[in-house]
């Protein structure tokens, strides 16, 4: 799978996320409180709501519609009403850009 530039690292505040759309799919790119970057599917597995409008609390992303929670490092569904895990994708930072390895 190719590495795609999602955004500049400086575009995401710590403990926040941005939405990145690519090849007809939506992704969420996170900046953790300790400075690491992560990437998951961009839509909640419960009802296709964009997680980019949600709240990052430490390593958890909370969906803005029903407050379902995922660990964005692993994609693990942590709190109802989400029952299904999010897909996660490799991330690296090069020359100040956040690159994600996602299906072409």
């Amino acid at each position: 799978m190719p590495w795609i530039k999602a955004c500049a690292a400086s575009e995401i505040d710590e403990e926040d996320l941005v939405r990145f759309d690519h090849a007809g799919r939506s992704f969420a790119v996170y900046h953790s409180p300790d400075g690491e970057f992560f990437c998951t599917d961009g839509l909640c597995t419960h009802e296709d709501v964009h997680l980019a409008d949600g709240l990052v609390i430490d390593y958890v992303i909370e969906c803005p519609k029903h407050n379902g929670q995922f660990d964005y490092r692993t994609g693990e569904a942590m709190r109802a009403p989400v029952c299904k895990d999010l897909g996660t994708y490799p991330v690296k930072v090069e020359n100040g850009d956040v690159l994600i390895e996602v299906p072409a």
Partner: protein, 379 residues
Amino acid sequence: MPQCSRDYALLGRDARLAEEIGLVSARWYHTDVPRKEMKALMQRHDGPAIRDTAILFAAMIASAAGGIAFWPGWASVPFWAVYGVLYASAMDSRWHECGHGTAFRTRWMNDALYQLACFCMMRNPVLWRWSHTRHHTDTIIVGHDPEIIAMRPAVVARLVLNLFGIFEFAGNARAMLSLAAGRMSEEDRSFVPESERPAAYRIARIWLAIYAGVAAIALATGSVLPFMLVGLPVFYGSWHMVLTGYMQHLGLAENVLDHRLNSRTVLINPVSRFIYWNMNYHVEHHMFPMVPYHRLKDLHERIRHDLPPAHPSMLSAYREILPALARQFSDPDWFVKRALPPTAKPYRPEFHGDLEPGQPTPGIGGYAAPPPGAALPAE
């Protein structure tokens, strides 16, 4: 009287029709709030809820102690009046806020208070979590929202009996017995995933054992006092929950995708706000359910330019609600369409904001049509 053939059943005709015309799991109208501001409003803190919970528990212990001390004399009545409202009304709002997970920042605190509040309200924590999830997905969509309180026309006996907790108790007690026996109704199964059902059964059995224990103590002591502390408050303390809860959606639009049309914000006194945990800011809560109760007043100030004016009091709200409910007996399609201020974005057809009082939901057949040439009264 025009015929009303609304079908509020979760698996009924209108549920299918609502799905066909795109009212289900739909995109809803939101007031624009910049991400940085919304992030600040959504931030979680333990402090406000710890403070409020400490006050609540202290008040419950004190009022229960007074009730026991003066039992069975009339002097105990004021203490039970306070205890009942805290047990069966304040715990309703704690159930709600902790169900959203927004009361505390610390997860176990949310979960612990949620479980306790569910027990007080006799609401199965699994069943009601999923029911409320659906209420937020499909708010007042006929056939999909399991929390519609007043049908059109309203069942008056149900609305009145609810003031004494009777209708809700009957439903919750029936659900507890049924779940304890390992059975869940077909309607409930429509919104509770299979993986969650065993937890619902387990909790119902634990609760049944607790109530059996309370009954055993009552029998052993020959007194109803144990039930005054556990169980009966649902009957004598629900009135505040009901009076505030009825203000949320009654008399407003069904089958729209704009919370400004189907939810109501009412300014109320500080004591009621403590009991109700600020859910009087109900348009704001539905539009942005991530914002904790203790920031809803700030959210209200931030977006009020885009909302119908808040009612200044409960009295004002009921002056709108009661005539609307009365009118729905003769015209079930009637609802109150509140005017927006000039600063607001207008109601938009893509969110069904063009639905007018007295007109049936386009695409959903079978509703009573107004008489030909009938003039539609202004709000």
